[in-house]
Amino acid sequence: MNRSMARSSIYNILSLCYTYPDEKVGSWIVKGEWIEELRHSLSLLTEEDYENFILPFKDFLSGERGELLLDLAREYTRLFINAFPHVVAPPYGSVYMEKSGRLFGQTTSEILQFYHQNGFTLKEDLKDLPDHIAHELEFLAILTSKEAEASGSDRVRFEEIQIEFFSRFILPWIYSFCQRILSESRSPFYGSLAQLTREFINLEKNYLGIPEEQNSKKMIEAEIQGG
């Protein structure tokens, strides 16, 4: 597996972990086979030790299956859908990137347009918004795997698309989003996921060569707008 494939694999794993843990996804998470894939893929990207970010998942998944599934469903609903006292971390970019804090803002149209311009659209029966974190991460998984298959100028093109997508639609809000999860998560799973996400995004930022200045500016904006 080459570097692009390793990145694709991690994006896919993260995307699925941010998908609602219904019977299918929940069972996949609880089964835990993805942890090995994650470890292996990370090892291809960096020499740094990521064990600290992986072990908490192992710990969590050692619990009883039925309880784990209920815990995941409850916590996902509380963090991302409808919650008491309120949704902790809406998983939609526009909530953080738009001044109004509303869903389906200008940036949502832009992301949809971006998918279209690059030959993809969202499935008709998706029943969720285009800027859901799970979809954005899946899109990066697709782009990285396409990069892996391509060569020459195509390869460069796919990398450019990733850079644009990453800096326009992920960076401006992902840190605020992870922070909200970290500060209010009650389940070790999503807390660990937010930490892992943050670390991986840092790695990607370096790898894709996003200028630091641009990062910090966008992050500050996100902090201001996303609260």
Binding site: F84, H116, D128
Partner: protein
């Protein structure tokens, strides 16, 4: 893509993921060619209130950017109200309900986390069907109650289950007007259309639709003013309408009936009535003439604290500046605010008959609405099981109200709490929020006794917090229907409601949900081939149209303006306007609006009259979670007269406690000259305790907490065919918090 699918899976290193979904992509698919995002104008209908303003929705790049009134629509006339234009905020509010959910915490109540988890529609239907069938079997179908507006699809489901308990809010809203107009004029329903634009004199008994931003009424009222109509407002409070009036009479709350009776007295005694109209179109004039004798302006003056000369002046103007009209809608003095509201509504009918304005231009118009066939005639059902038990709320004792098809909130809460005559085990509720009930905290206690609650809504309301199963409704910009509209109908005009965008989440239309629950419960025979679209087609066909025509209509509307033909026959047994209401007498009620006081009068302990109002940016207890709306009205206020405030030691901005015999609330004081010294007023729509509504949560207090729930005996003693919930018939004490 040059690699094969298998290779791709292997290569991606995410084998377990791809195998899990059996597809290359989860959320995405390949787009053959670049597709521009939707940019278009869609015709639809606003569903914030029941007005049904036709709307042009502007979509840019797949987002709804702006809503405007449809200029060809006789209701909106190209303009929307502040609530209408905020529909977009509602659509895109992050707090919306997005997926079906089930409760995992069995404990219920204010401040309790329901611990919802997302489920699929199939799982939701499975649970609902199993539970409802279980209760039906063990406790009888009557143990299941529907709490929602009348709708042919949900009514069919209730009838198929066999429960008589279909509960709705109308006796907090307008049943007084409905029962009176039905028995004296129409035989069915009340007029909603008022032709203010052609009126020369507009008299309001507490009507303040311009202050509540009711679109069509405000527009027509202002048109009337522009054309020189004279306006008189009776209201204990200086409302927006009062501010536009030529004369504001701060009448003592609940005494409007005395004023109206004295007006009848003046108009008859001074021979000012329209003899032609009275002779041709009414019966019972002689009885009224006799009955009205004691109700002189001098008599009314003592009760209303309005000088007799003023009453006389208003009566004369009303009878001579014609066409003249009494403005009514809902929750005005003749709406179900007081124990004598229905009598006032009757006196209003008599007054408008005496000046000949009923169903005449410049007066109240009996709608020329499109006629839609019943669901049962389009899809004849198998015979329904006959309910074996009486209704839980005792509404059979109010046959005239029952006949209107409208419901009551008064007695439901106590009936559940007492479990008499039988326990309510399950409720299916849509959009009737807990805060809409009198004594909302008591309703919470009642709902705790209900074992299984299915709730449908768009926002996570207080009712949702109590629910076992949550079913998310489409927002109206995502749904479809055809809408007849009744709030302004000089001629039949049908508007199409169609999805402006495809549903954002896993929501469903209400009518489909009802069909699905029916089928899941094994009641499929009642829903065989029944579809909302099929029913809409039949409704259009009955009016000589087709769905294709409506969809292709350049303005989303069908029905050309028709010249107005005044009615010469009415829907009563005599075919005339029954000033002396034989129908009321037949059912044992007062056939003439004899003077009766409101139920509750000030005492030493509770010295202030209590009235309520609603800010223009909200509709009842919804829309508070919209950012701009709550910014404009961040919390509710208690309006107190300057003189009274001084005595209480209260300044504007101080918090006060408003206390009724059953509850107390804390609200901010607003000191004003614009209210009687013996009256306080509090805005409705606040006090949300559902933390799911992040922007509305904790803002202000629910004034409905102060209004008592009633029991059947009390309602019977009121001798009111409309079962008025008396939403303003209350006295309170007020002190600094």
């Amino acid at each position: 893509m040059s690699v094969s699918r298998r290779e791709f899976i292997k290569l991606s290193g995410a084998g377990s993921i791809a195998l899990l979904f059996g597809e290359k992509f989860r959320a995405f698919e390949v787009l053959a060619q670049e597709k521009p995002l939707d940019t278009k104008i869609v015709h639809t209908v606003c569903q914030v209130c029941s007005g049904g303003c036709a709307v042009k929705a502007f979509v840019k790049d797949g987002r709804v950017m702006e809503l405007r009134g449809n200029p060809d629509d006789q209701i909106s006339r190209g303009i929307l109200c502040v609530k209408g234009i905020s529909g977009i905020q509602w659509l895109y509010d992050p707090d919306r309900l997005k997926f079906p959910m089930k409760r995992t915490n069995p404990e219920k109540g204010i401040g309790v986390d329901p611990q919802f988890v997302r489920i699929s529609w199939d799982e939701a239907y499975g649970i609902i069907a199993q539970k409802l069938n279980e209760y039906k079997e063990k406790f009888g179908p009557e143990s299941i109650a529907f709490i929602m507006r009348p709708n042919p699809f949900s009514q069919r489901l209730a009838k198929a289950i066999g429960t008589p308990n279909y509960i709705s809010h109308h006796n907090t809203c307008y049943t007084t007007h409905e029962v009176v107009w039905m028995t004296t004029v129409t035989g069915k329903g009340r007029p909603w259309t008022t032709d203010y634009a052609n009126a020369k004199y507009i008299l309001s008994f507490g009507w303040d639709m311009p202050g509540k931003a009711k679109n069509m009424q405000t527009q027509h009222f202002l048109a009337g003013l522009d054309k020189g109509a004279k306006v008189t407002v009776l209201d204990p409070r200086y409302t927006v309408t009062a501010s536009k009036a030529h004369l504001w009479i701060p009448i003592k709350p609940g005494t409007d009936l005395a004023f109206a009776l004295a007006m009848i007295n003046v108009i008859i005694n001074q021979n000012l009535y329209d003899k032609e109209f009275v002779k041709n179109y009414t019966v019972g004039f002689e009885e009224v003439k006799e009955f009205i004798k004691p109700y002189t302006p001098q008599w009314a003056s003592k009760i209303t604290e309005v000088p007799a000369t003023t009453i006389e002046k208003v009566a004369k103007e009303f009878a001579t500046l014609k066409p003249s009209v009494i403005a009514t809608h809902k929750r005005d003095a003749g709406g179900p605010n007081y124990a004598n509201s229905w009598r006032l509504s009757h006196a209003q009918v008599i007054l408008m008959a005496l000046v000949g304005s009923i169903d005449r231009l410049g007066g109240p118009i009996i709608e020329r609405m499109p006629k839609f066939p019943s669901l049962d005639s389009v899809y004849p059902p198998p015979p329904y099981p006959k309910p074996k038990a009486p209704r839980i709320d005792g509404m059979e004792k109010f046959p005239l109200l029952l006949k209107t098809g409208k419901g009551s909130f008064s007695t439901f809460t106590n009936a559940i709490l007492e479990g008499k005559p039988y326990p309510i085990k399950a409720v299916i509720v849509r959009k009737h929020n807990i805060l809409a009930f009198p004594d909302a905290p008591k309703m919470v206690e009642a709902l705790k006794k209900v074992e299984f609650i299915v709730a449908m809504d768009i926002h996570p309301s207080e009712m949702i917090q109590m629910a076992d199963i949550v079913l998310p409704d489409h927002h109206y910009l995502e749904g479809s229907a055809i809408v007849g509209r009744q709030y302004f109908g000089l001629y039949p005009q049908i508007a199409i409601q169609q999805p402006v965008i495809k549903p954002l989440y896993d929501t469903k239309g209400f009518r489909n949900i009802m069909i699905d629950i029916g089928k899941a419960m094994g009641l499929g025979d009642y829903f065989k081939d029944v579809t909302p679209g099929g029913y809409d087609d039949a409704c259009l066909k009955a009016n000589g149209y087709s769905m294709e025509e409506l969809k292709n209509s350049p303005n989303g509307l069908l029905g050309d303006p028709k010249p107005f033909v005044p009615k010469t026959e009415f829907g009563t047994p005599s075919k005339k306007i029954e000033l002396y209401a034989s129908e009321l007498k037949k059912y044992g009620y007062d056939p003439l609006p004899s003077w009766k006081e409101k139920a509750i009068k000030p005492t030493k302990e509770y010295p202030f009259y209590f009235v309520t109002t609603r800010p223009p940016v909200f509709i009842h207890s919804t829309l508070q979670n919209l950012q701009y709306n709550i910014e404009v009205y961040p919390e509710n206020q208690c309006y107190i007269n300057t003189e009274t405030a001084k005595k209480l030691g209260v300044k504007s901005g101080d918090y006060v406690i408003v206390e009724s015999p059953i509850n107390k609330i804390k609200v901010k004081a607003k000191v004003t000259e614009g209210i009687r010294p013996d009256t306080v007023c509090v805005d409705h729509g606040f006090g949300h305790w559902s933390k799911g509504m992040t922007k509305a949560y904790g803002k202000g207090s629910n004034e409905g907490d102060l209004i008592p729930a009633r029991d059947l005996q009390e309602m019977l003693e009121q001798q009111d065919p409309s079962m008025s919930c008396n939403m303003n018939d209350l006295c309170v004490k007020v002190y600094k918090a």
